[in-house]
Symmetry: C3
């Protein structure tokens, strides 16, 4: 079980962890299996998306603010119910196949911590199960 | 393979299954591995969210009704297309790491069956794969 | 590691892959374990939903167009930011339990490739980890 510590710097943010997670896979010497990435928070999630044009992330941030807006009638008095919703929609675990010591990702895919209630210090857990 | 039977009591409901699932992990005597939780339904899902303030769940229910509303022009004549959408957005499987015989969850995380078309009797499947 | 190649024929489409994936499980001779299904794309996802009434899929397509609409102010100039959002909401991996050589699915569940930026040729990766 490996743990990454990630400092987010703004309210909504997608932080690319692909290199760090591939380094964990490489260090494990496991060549074939599955890699589970898990975010142990309720106002952040984990997701896969475009690794090339940063404008995709800009558009996603705008859309998450639209889909999970602030509402005057929310009952949770910390004021971060939109972040709880956005994290729930995004999800807290992804499972990625490992082959030849590499995460099997698509050409355009990166692994992102999805921060919805930053800035905060976040943990990301990585577990690699060999075949 | 373990199976929980859960009776939901209203249309939209989040039911905390963390204790039951931890009990299954404990009973399995597996100390290290991964735990897959799977909901074999199309109008309910499985999700992680806040375990402390129940107002978060109240806000989430309100928001799922907003994001997946009834529409007069839905073609599925059972009338539960919003539940199919909400379950799809929530997802049907989560994978949680097991270490030292414990589900590795965040301080504020609980595992919830997400009912979107209750009341019903639901199954939740739990499989623990040891290292 | 198994790879399905799937040709989608329209912009938004849900393609039922349950039979193909069960055939892969059967061919593997693995009777008990977990099956990870992974979509290595950023504008398509993988989801479970109703296998009986095709009207559910019609309603879902309509709803994804509403939840992830085109916007004049998107910055990503390929024009497919809605597909990136919809795929992120749907997710790129599902994990299904295998018992007795069968995917353990609910009566009404099917496994769908969720295309949000078609028509395209898509890959779906399938990995079965035995107990």
């Amino acid at each position: 079980l490996h743990r990454l510590s990630v400092r987010t710097t703004t309210n909504i943010q997608f932080i690319n962890l692909t290199t760090e997670i591939q380094n964990i896979v490489t260090g494990s010497k496991i060549t074939s299996g599955i890699c589970v990435i898990f975010v142990p928070h309720t106002t952040a999630g984990i997701t896969l998306n475009e690794n090339a044009d940063p404008a995709v992330l800009t558009d996603l941030k705008k859309e998450f603010l639209r889909l999970a807006p602030a509402r005057a009638d929310f009952e949770h008095n910390e004021g971060n119910s939109p972040a709880h919703l956005a994290a729930g929609l995004t999800g807290h675990s992804v499972t990625i196949i490992v082959e030849g010591g590499r995460l099997v990702l698509g050409t355009w895919q990166a692994i992102y911590l999805a921060e919805f209630d930053g800035p905060r210090l976040r943990d990301v857990l990585v577990k690699i199960s060999p075949d």
